[in-house]
């Protein structure tokens, strides 16, 4: 009778061990990874007990010492495998070990266990002195037979950045926010926002840092600090005080590694004022095309719109300013009245590019070429990038013009992903993206349809 608790514990351990082996053998299954509340409960019972028994064995001495140590190590690894993966395997740049440890994590409620494991592996791969070319196909192999999830998208984005494809990585990781909360692990959300903020800060794009650090979803302490720094650099009304900035800086691990950068943010007192305002449109124009910023471009546009000059020269000037603005990744805000409207200045280039890309996608879908998930993602990202270029002009009419050719083929893609390819999470994310876009342009029919599609996909999830 007195051995009953030990026998029950051994039985629970055996049950948990067999569940773990089932989880790890499940790599090639297209279905959702196995989960079991009973096994998880067994784990919560067995593993802490194993640690306690291990220490008791060490205390007892003799043969108990090595057995006790082994029991403590094994049970600790199985109890906190994700923590060990992040704290040990990532800094040691061991992606495959990191992946295996993260996949052992069954005690923590994870909506996306394979995605989290892939993201952990991708982070570990990033710490290697030089990128391993085998890591990208290895990661893609992990995701090959499963529906794409936000963790997988993050992992694939991080993998792209390993080889210098930062722009592709940026677009892909930004898609994590499009996925439904029910399938997005909080760690994935935090890591995605942190990576976007850190990468934008590397480029000096503090507007993008602010965008990545604010908004819905969980943020890491590092992300909150970067958001505060962005507020300071951008002279925002909600910029933190020096004391608040200090407190945020000290709140994240490894903050000492960025002490000098933090000092730079604390010492920041604002940019020096712009040079003396130009007195002629030509002078303002030269300054704006040589040094395109929001201020120089706005000054040039203002002076051209008021100038008593041949309208053909003004039209040429505005086209050149548009070229300089797009070179700098800035919008060109044109006067609402006057000889030129934005679509004339744009010359139809981005709208034409959107038409071409949309037609190419529609043609691909109609011809039945729907087996390449990476191509689907690339097509979506490409159209999203073209749309973002149009959005920067802050002209609702232009955005509505761009929406029409994009909507139908992406809608068809979403339906194909859901009905024909079992990519329900990716389809759901695309549907949400289309819904937000339809709301932005005010297309009530599209809003109604995408709302209906979302509700239907949630019912069948």
């Amino acid at each position: 009778m007195r051995f009953l608790p030990i026998l029950l514990l051994i039985g629970a351990a055996a049950f948990y061990a067999s569940f773990l082996s089932w989880v790890l053998q499940d790599e090639s299954s297209p279905q959702k990874p196995p989960n079991s509340n009973l096994a998880t409960a067994m784990g919560w019972l067995v593993l802490p007990a194993g640690v306690v028994f291990g220490f008791m064995g060490v205390w007892a001495g003799g043969f108990g010492v090595p057995l006790g140590i082994a029991l403590v190590v094994v049970c600790t690894v199985l109890w906190m495998p994700l923590t060990i993966a992040v704290a040990v395997a990532i800094p040691l740049a061991r992606p495959r070990i990191a992946y295996a440890l993260a996949r052992l994590s069954t005690l923590r409620a994870e909506p996306d266990p394979v995605g989290v494991a892939m993201a952990v592996a991708a982070r570990a791969a990033g710490r290697a002195p030089s990128p391993d070319p085998s890591i990208e196909p290895w990661l893609e192999g992990r995701a090959a037979k499963r529906p794409l999830t936000p963790g997988m998208v993050l992992a694939l984005g991080l993998s792209a950045s390993l080889f210098g494809h930062d722009e592709e990585a940026r677009e892909m990781i930004a898609l994590v926010d499009a996925f439904d909360d029910t399938i997005t692990d909080p760690w994935i959300t935090r890591w995605a926002h942190e990576w976007l903020a850190v990468e934008a800060a590397e480029r000096g794009d503090w507007v993008a840092v602010h965008r990545a650090t604010h908004g819905l979803g969980r943020r890491s302490t590092t992300t909150r600090w970067l958001g505060a720094v962005a507020g300071r650099f951008l002279d925002r009304p909600d910029a933190p005080t020096e004391a608040n900035l200090d407190a945020l800086w000290q709140s994240f691990p490894g903050h000492r590694k960025v002490a000098d950068l933090h000092d730079q943010a604390v010492a920041y007192t604002g940019l020096a004022s712009e040079p003396v305002a130009a007195t002629s449109p030509l002078q303002a124009h030269v300054h704006a095309v040589a040094h395109p910023t929001s201020q120089t471009l706005a000054q040039a546009v203002h002076l051209w719109s008021a100038a008593d000059v041949d309208p053909a020269i003004v039209a040429d000037a505005l086209k050149d300013l548009q070229g300089a603005a797009s070179r700098a990744g800035l919008p060109l805000r044109l006067p609402k009245e006057g000889p030129m409207c934005p679509s004339d200045v744009l010359g139809g280039d981005p709208l034409e590019a959107i038409e071409i890309a949309s037609n190419r996608l529609a043609h691909r879908l109609q011809s039945g070429d729907t087996t390449d998930r990476q191509q689907d993602l690339r097509d979506w990202l490409h159209l999203a990038g073209l749309l973002e270029a149009v959005r920067r002009h802050e002209d609702p009419a232009l955005l509505r013009l761009a929406f029409r050719p994009i909507y139908s083929p992406l809608c068809a893609l979403s339906v194909s992903l859901y009905n024909d390819r079992n990519e329900r999470h990716l389809s759901n994310a695309l549907t949400r993206w289309l819904l937000f876009l339809a709301q932005e342009v005010g297309d009530t029919r599209a809003v109604a349809l995408q709302t209906q599609n979302l509700a239907a996909s949630r019912r069948h999830a």
Binding site: L261, Q264, L282, V286, P292, I313, D316, D320, S326
Partner: protein
């Protein structure tokens, strides 16, 4: 190398390419253009670049021919005359810092 977007019209001003004042006659423009084409065809260093408010720019035979074509057309010449008065650009405005090794410092690399 193609000029940066937005700068082509300024950098390829025909008066700058031919190093002529805006008051130059059509005959003077033709004479100067033919002289530069001959110099370029034998690879003379003196003809290799032309001064602009944005610094010296490479002069090519295509650019010289294009400049002559513009100056032969009265409408295009009038617009080029306007643009030839462009002053040098002002100093570059100060930029916000870029923390270029941040990923490495924060454990993303």
């Amino acid at each position: 190398m193609k000029p940066a977007k937005g700068l082509e019209r300024l950098l390829e001003n025909p008066f700058w390419i031919l190093e002529l004042p805006i008051s130059a006659s059509p005959l003077e423009a033709e004479r100067e253009g033919q002289k530069l084409l001959a110099m370029l065809s034998v690879g003379l260093e003196a003809a290799a670049t032309y001064p602009t408010p944005f610094g010296p720019q490479p002069r090519t035979e295509d650019r010289v021919r294009q400049a002559l074509a513009v100056l032969r057309d009265p409408t295009r010449r009038a617009r080029a005359t306007f643009w030839a008065d462009a002053p040098p650009p002002g100093p570059s405005p100060p930029k916000l810092p870029a923390w270029t090794d941040l990923r490495e410092r924060l454990g993303w690399r």
